[in-house]
């Protein structure tokens, strides 16, 4: 019987070795170690061995034989599967560079991009964001900003008027400053707000001016806000938005709605100055128009153009380019 076992093992091992694929191996498994396999049949004959010791010994041999065959089978199956996956992967090669298409993603407008960047910096500095209407009343655009009717400073802006029952009382806002008044009226101080938005001037479009453009205004109202706080906030913004190697300076100027008033310039690392915008302490008359007591509250405001930021950031020569809405232009700026 020992010889029979050895022969069956040899035969099974030969058969395993001769099988080439995982699939045919799987089909083979019953015929190698199953009940009907030569080894299985030998196992069923064990009971006929009378001598207990002999039966145990043969049983042990038979068990070992089956383990040998199963191990060979498992090894062979692993080899086959590995080879087959190898072959599959070899077959399935793809040129990935064919598959990397250009993005079909769209773009936000440069002005939106600049606005969002500015908003994010100011939010980081503790500001909220306020909005207001683009068509405004004379009151909000001028009168509440310390420019009563026939105030000569009104001619600082070329105003577009909108038809209305009371002629001249409705304007396309010439700046974002009217939102200051609305915020003062609607919010409860302390106020730390920026107000981005679209503004309008009766200007013929050229490389640096558009009749429709965008500004961002800042307003801080709190107890004991001073000119030093204005200068410090402008400086903090300058560093946060442009970079740590930029600095800022304020120099005297004139706006009807702030006093003291200033222009603010920022200085590049190379020492050159860029005029950025206007600012100042909110004029007491403006605080009053916003319903606040100038003896209790003080504050500052600042404002500058957004379009110009985008123009300089992307080295755009002509502002009008930004408003052609030509997708070939817009798609350049992710």
């Amino acid at each position: 019987m020992r010889n029979d076992i050895a022969a069956a093992v040899d035969a099974a091992l030969a058969e395993v070795a001769a099988t080439a694929s995982a699939a045919s191996l799987a089909a083979l498994s019953g015929s190698l170690v199953g009940r009907k396999s030569p080894l299985g049949q030998l196992k069923s004959k064990l009971g006929s061995i009378a001598d207990i010791d002999e039966r145990k010994a043969i049983g042990q041999v038979l068990n070992d034989a089956m383990l040998t065959v199963e191990a060979a089978f498992a090894t062979k199956r692993a080899e086959c599967e590995a080879a087959e996956l190898e072959a599959q992967m070899a077959r399935e090669g793809i040129d990935l560079t064919e598959r990397v298409a250009e993005s079909r993603r769209g773009r936000t407008h440069l002005v939106t991009q600049a606005t969002q960047r500015l908003e994010d910096v100011f939010v980081g500095l503790g500001f909220q964001v306020a909005e207001g209407p683009e068509v405004e009343s004379d009151f909000y655009n001028f009168e509440a900003l310390n420019m009563p009717k026939s105030h000569p400073a009104r001619s600082m802006w070329d105003t577009l008027f909108v038809e209305s029952a009371d002629a001249g009382s409705v304007v396309l806002r010439t700046h974002t400053s009217p939102v200051q008044i609305r915020v003062m009226q609607d919010w409860v101080p302390p106020i730390y707000a920026v107000m981005p938005g679209r503004v309008f001037r009766r200007d013929t479009p050229d490389a640096t001016h558009m009749p429709v453009f965008h500004q961002i205004e800042g307003l801080v109202i709190d107890r004991n806000i001073s000119f030093r706080d204005l200068a410090g906030t402008i400086e903090a913004f300058t560093k946060a938005f442009f970079g740590a190697d930029f600095t800022s300076r304020l120099r005297p100027s004139y706006f009807p709605f702030t006093e003291p008033s200033a222009e603010f310039d920022i200085r590049r690392a190379n020492g050159s100055w860029i005029e950025l915008g206007g600012c100042g302490m909110v004029h007491p008359n403006v605080l009053r128009a916003g319903g606040l007591d100038p003896e209790e509250w003080s504050g500052f405001a600042f404002g500058f153009g957004i379009d110009r930021m985008a123009k300089e950031r992307h080295s755009i020569d002509d502002m009008r380019e930004m408003y052609t809405n030509d997708l070939r232009f817009l798609r350049q700026f992710p």
Binding site: Q128, R228, R251
Partner: protein, 783 residues
């Protein structure tokens, strides 16, 4: 305003480095736009005399000029100006001269005849802006002499200042010098008052309309001669941007440029009867100095003589008949103060904005009139040493005149509160007294007297600004406020950003078309223009209406891109529309418009944005396919509703609209009231447990008439399936063989699942039957 360093130096010592002065002027709020080095000698330009001129038959635009620089040798040049005649002396740039504009004078001729130099205009030599012809030199200049030396041209440094409109005092050199000297802690010279040399020549001065003039002075000066001003004075006037005329006009302009004080000299013969200052009468006319006949308006200020005949338009321009002429030997000098608004309106009405009117508009000093008159006489005496002053200026003043000074109370605590720096009363006085503000009192409050030349300064905050300016903005330092507010975007703003990112991720790019439209643009885009508002003063008619819809603008952008052969046109805009409302202001609203040029018929690419937005923003609306929004394709569009409220539209744009815009193909569009959508804050979603039990799918295909919306079938199935339905998907739409004309097959997959058990076959069959019944009720037939 052009300011000359030599002139500033007459008031204080400014021998500093030019860069320092530029920085200090900027720090005072008078930024220097340009620094010009004037009167720089051009070596090689000499005095020459014209001998004769000669036309050439083949040259129309030039002639030959024969000159001599030594009285014997003859030179000839080609010249394009014809204003000289034989005997005139002119500047000749000799060969090899390098002109101020950089070009070199070469022996280059025309018609084979060379040119031995160039005759120069005043502008070519940077002497003044006169380019009307060749500069004719005074006859007494020696031949061959350097022109600059012979004329006594002075050199100077000119600062072109960008002045703010609140500082009228700086429209004169004296004001700039006062500010600059204060900043540099330099003493400023004081005005000397002149003296009358002869008995008073009385002139009556009457101001019947007090509102027309607050203060008026007249001074009589005799024994004068009209001549040229000295060269240095002419240089100053020219470098300040004005034209030297004669000694009288130049003296007047000189005083104005020096102290922001306009003056006007009349020939005494025309005002011997005195002055009357009043508003113009109905129908009154005046021939002004420029020769124009002016119809006067009831709000124009008239200077009339004692016979009530108008001799000048007050604050704007003098009359022609009273002008100083060559034969004038005696003048009456008017120095007056007129109300700024009145002069402003008068100048605007007549389109006559002069250097004088501009100064009255900003505000001249009503109490500087006498000093102006004395200064005029002092300047005139340079050319008329024997002039006679017949009495000190004769003054009339009334209630319309601002006071000589204005007092305001300045609280030192307020100075610290606004500027952030504590200052003593002594420190404040040291800062603002040098610019003419007078401080009185000690302690926490002081009284500040503001001088009459600072009409902009009337309140405590105005004084604080002066303190800040002279303390130095930079010196005040920087601090950051201690805010208790935390920065954030509002919910609306966060959701607006989500709209931008959803759309850009979806392939749409943001456009910003002009919100101003042509009057016909709305109609062409199929938009109802009943509520469209007009701009009263548009730049151009094509941009004269305020949009009531984003569609016309975005369609134009789409058409532009298509005509430039751009691939993949997917655009959107987020922007305001401004329809007329019930109140004074329009019913302004924020809108979204998404537009795609479809690549295939029926693609409706823009509609994909609807699903993306609904999902991202968690909002819903009814898609009402039965009502066609204006401007859309009737069979391919829907109105978006919330109950009765229309919140938008979507679908394919009408072919008529596309044809109007020259767009080929098909365009899908979504329009949405963004305001409505963004204002809704979605509630946080409460989590539902995901069932661990097996699910069962039911596939159902129905034949549905085209007239029945898929959304209705969807809604019917969903409600029939009840709460065991976890999803319902329309996975196939089929038209063609096997389905009759006018209908299509809609195939749905319904997945059922219970949270607590495995569904039985009977339960699934029951729901299936209910769904079929519900669909059939809507007219669908199971395939």
């Amino acid at each position: 305003m052009k300011v000359l360093l030599s002139w500033l130096n007459e008031f204080a010592d400014f021998s500093d480095d030019v860069d320092v002065l530029v920085d200090e002027l900027t720090a005072l709020g008078m930024p220097v736009e340009e620094t010009i080095f004037a009167g720089t000698k051009v070596p090689g330009v000499v005095v020459a005399q014209v001998l004769r001129t000669e036309r050439h038959p083949d040259a129309e635009k030039v002639h030959r000029v024969y000159l001599t620089t030594d009285g014997s040798n003859e030179l000839h040049v080609w010249c394009g100006a014809f204003n000289m005649k034989a005997g005139d002396k002119v500047p000749l740039a000799k060969l090899g001269t390098r002109m101020p504009d950089g070009r070199e004078i070469l022996r280059r001729g025309i018609l084979g005849i060379d040119s031995e130099g160039m005759c120069c205009s005043a502008q070519e030599l940077d002497l003044n802006d006169d380019h009307g012809g060749i500069l004719i030199l005074p006859a007494d200049l020696p031949l061959g002499a350097d022109v600059f030396d012979a004329l006594g041209v002075t050199t100077d440094i000119v600062f072109d200042l960008d002045l703010t409109r609140n500082r009228p005092d700086c429209w004169g050199h004296m004001g700039v010098a006062r500010d600059l000297a204060a900043r540099l802690r330099r003493p400023v010279g004081t005005d000397s008052v002149g003296e009358s040399s002869h008995p008073l020549h009385p002139l009556s001065i009457d101001i019947p309309d007090e509102a027309s003039c607050g203060r008026f002075t007249a001074t009589v000066v005799k024994n004068i001669r009209v001549t040229q001003s000295p060269q240095w004075l002419q240089d100053r006037i020219a470098r300040s941007g004005m034209r030297p005329i004669n000694n009288i006009v130049d003296a007047s302009n000189y005083v104005m440029l020096e102290r922001n004080q306009p003056t006007h000299a009349y020939d005494l013969r025309s005002v011997e009867s005195g002055f009357r200052v009043r508003f113009a009468k109905v129908g009154e006319t005046l021939v002004t100095l420029d020769g124009a006949t002016r119809e006067l308006h009831g709000a124009d200020i008239v200077i009339a003589n004692g016979a009530d005949v108008a001799v000048g338009l007050g604050g704007v321009m003098g009359g022609l008949d009273s002008e100083v002429v060559g034969s004038t030997t005696a003048i009456a000098l008017e120095v007056a103060w007129f109300p700024p608004d009145t002069v402003n309106e008068s100048a605007a009405r007549h389109g006559l904005r002069s250097e004088a009117s501009a100064r009255f508009e900003r505000g001249a000093d009503p109490w500087g009139l006498e000093a102006g008159a004395w200064r005029f006489i002092e300047i005139l005496r340079l050319t008329c040493p024997n002039l006679e002053v017949h009495g000190a200026p004769q003054v009339t003043v009334n209630g319309a005149c601002p006071p000589p000074s204005t007092d305001v109370v300045l609280r030192l605590a307020q100075v610290e509160r606004i500027l952030g720096v504590p200052l003593t009363s002594r420190q404040v006085a040291d800062l603002i007294e040098p610019i003419g503000y007078r401080c009185a009192g000690e302690g926490t409050k002081i009284t500040v007297s503001i001088p009459s030349w600072r009409p902009d300064s009337t309140s405590e905050i105005d004084v604080i600004e002066e303190v800040a300016r002279h303390y130095g903005y930079e010196a005040l330092g920087k601090s950051v406020p201690n805010s208790t507010v935390h920065g954030r975007l509002s919910g609306v703003q966060q959701r607006r950003r989500l709209v931008h990112s959803v759309l850009t991720e979806g392939g749409w790019s943001e456009a910003m078309p002009n919100p101003f439209l042509d009057p016909g643009a709305a109609k062409l885009a199929g938009v109802d223009d009943a509520l469209q508002l007009a701009i009263v003063n548009p730049l151009v008619a094509e941009e004269s209406m305020l949009r009531v819809s984003l569609r016309p603008g975005l369609l134009r952008s789409l058409a532009y891109n298509q005509s430039h052969r751009v691939e993949g046109i997917h655009l959107y805009e987020v922007g305001h529309v401004y329809p007329r409302g019930a109140n004074a202001l329009p019913d302004e609203e924020e809108m979204l418009c998404v537009m795609s040029l479809d690549e295939t018929d029926g693609e409706l690419a823009a509609l994909r944005s609807w699903s993306l937005l609904v999902d991202a923003l968690s909002f819903g609306a009814q898609i009402d396919a039965k009502s066609t929004p204006p401007g859309y394709h009737p069979g391919r569009s829907a109105t978006l509703r919330r109950g009765k409220q229309v919140i938008g539209a979507m679908g394919e744009l009408s072919p008529v609209v596309l044809r109007n815009h020259g767009v080929a193909g098909r365009v899908s569009c979504l329009e949405l009231s963004l305001g409505v959508v963004l204002r809704e804050e979605p509630k946080p979603v409460a989590a539902k447990v995901v069932s661990r039990f097996p699910s069962s799918d039911i596939d159902l295909a129905f034949v549905v008439a085209e007239s029945v919306a898929a959304a209705d079938i969807h809604r019917g199935l969903k409600s029939a399936a009840g709460n065991l339905a976890v999803s319902l998907e329309l996975f196939d739409v089929y038209r063609g063989k096997g389905v009759q004309e006018g209908a299509r097959s809609l195939a749905y997959r319904l997945r059922l699942q219970a949270p607590d058990r495995t569904l039985t076959d009977d339960e699934v069959a029951g729901i299936r039957a209910k769904c079929i019944a519900a669909a059939e009720k809507l007219g669908a037939r199971l395939r």
